[in-house]
Symmetry: none
Subunit: 285 residues, 2 copies
DNA sequence: GGCTTTGGTGTAATTTAATTACATCAAATC
DNA sequence: GATTTGATGTAATTAAATTACACCAAAGCC
């Protein structure tokens, strides 16, 4: 276990002064590793030996050794804590927090996602006659992204963010068609309807949504992410990123399943974009 | 660049004694971080000040600081490397890899992003008469997402993924308008044109794109992410996620800048969605 | 309720480690 | 061959961390 987590975990077993030290370290871990024991003691408003004892309590040899461990924890990417943005955060603070909580969300998603279901979803997608991506609001952009990805596979794919179009599309679906419904909460009524309609018409419905939601109930296959969402800002952030990564995973599974030959086709699509771009060589700095 | 790589790279510029130090450190980096300067000097068969000078040469403040950096380099090695998906990866493997490389990309983005520029971008956005988000292809969904976010702020915001509409919109822009152009490569000709047109019409142009790209040259402000992209699959994945997180950050900065009163408005928008949803209580499991 | 003990905390002394200042030596240049 | 430059080590100095010890507060005991 890394030192940072260790501090968080054993916060209860700390004494009053030790907790002060812990707070300061957790608040500015980066500063800590560049401070002397005296500076840190002052920041936490405790004596130097208290800091030293704190270090020992965490199974390090002393303060310098503790800093070493801390440095490694920090290097390990992130203190994957889902830190919330606060009123008086400056640009550095909220930037760091958003990156970190997004990464924390992805980490959580990775651990929660069910590989079996992913595999079955890939199965279904590779055999689809037609693939439709539906999302509303914030999930609409995820659906768009999915369309963009699967479009490159030269598979019939559509994407609607309009309820009426979605409805018509769902009614016209038939066996062999795959409908992917995207919704973080899984409680958007219109989308639940769409899923139900599609199923009635024998399409396979994949839900990228919360497990145990109304939408999930309407789906053939549910890909749940269970991301701890920071709702402070009243906007879905982390969940949507996790959804995108999930789309990436499905797309990747798709290409792998289709084999080498197929991937050459992808390259062709990519090459076709070249004409619309400035060449890397053309543009010298 | 991490210290370990730095040592390897600059091995030529070292003096005889310094090289002895370098050799010892590279041979047992793990031991080094737990040794005193005296111990290391003895191992390398040089004097202590030589070791100190060696540390300074690598842009560290001294020996303890050097050890800190070294500790981080060592920790950095393993956890999230940008592991590439391979031909015969199963679902577990590619799922894990995609999550990890996305997280690695975010980590890299976090370290590269320029806070100053973010702050200025937020400045510009909060003062905008109108905000336009433009993207093409994969970046279109990012633009959509941005629109969705900023729309909630009750600010005039548009988003076009159609070149003609983008062009018309850019021509009609004027001072006080902000145009955000999104492109991973920054080499999409059409979007460069749009940026140029917008600027000619006195709009402020923010580019979410690669630093040093043709698009960047056309922008007032460039938010660069420098994400190591996995191009194996011929699709932008990680970069687009980083762009989204950047949008999240801008949106967050925006709300924070606007103050408490404004955030109540956000809650209203969120509450307004309630009617279109199944209530949490209505739906028991 | 007062006494004792235990655990936590700070002050000051001590020890250890790192850094600086300076002297010396080697190699390169004139 | 002399001089200068840069590299290195020795010794002194400074800074940092640790230890020893004293004190205080809270919990348990008589």
């Amino acid at each position: 276990m890394n030192v940072l987590e260790k501090i968080v975990n054993s916060v209860n077993s700390f004494s009053k002064s030790e907790r002060k030290v812990a707070d300061v370290i957790l608040a500015n871990p980066q500063t800590t590793i560049h401070s002397s024991i005296a500076a840190l003691a002052k920041m936490a408003d405790v004596s130097e030996p208290t800091v030293n004892r704190f270090c020992r309590r965490l199974d390090t040899k002393g303060f310098p050794d503790f800093k070493l461990h801390l440095a490694q924890s920090l290097a390990n990417g992130t203190p994957y804590v889902n830190r919330h943005v606060e009123e008086d955060d400056g640009p550095e603070a909220y930037t760091a927090k958003i990156f970190e909580s997004t990464m924390a969300a992805l980490d959580a998603a990775r651990q929660n996602v069910d590989i079996q279901t992913i595999n079955r979803a890939v199965d279904v997608l590779t055999q689809a006659k037609k693939i439709s991506f539906f999302g509303l609001g914030a999930s609409a952009s995820v659906a768009h992204d999915a369309q963009n990805k699967f479009f490159r596979f030269n598979v019939p794919v559509v994407c609607f963010d309009d309820i009426v179009m979605q409805r018509m599309s769902a009614i016209n679906s038939s066996e062999g068609d795959v409908v992917v419904c995207i919704s973080h909460t899984g409680r958007t009524k219109n989308l639940c309807d769409i899923a139900a309609i599609a199923r009635e018409n024998d399409a396979t419905v994949i839900g990228i949504t919360a497990y145990d939601s109304p939408l999930a109930k309407e789906c053939t296959l549910v890909l749940s992410l269970d991301v701890p969402e920071d709702t402070d800002m009243y906007m879905p952030m982390a969940s949507r990123v996790a959804q995108l990564v999930l789309i990436d995973i499905l797309a990747t599974g798709f290409t792998l399943r289709r084999g080498t030959k197929f991937r050459e086709n992808l390259k062709k699509v990519k090459d076709s974009l070249r004409g619309s771009r400035f060449d890397k060589k053309d543009f010298a700095g």
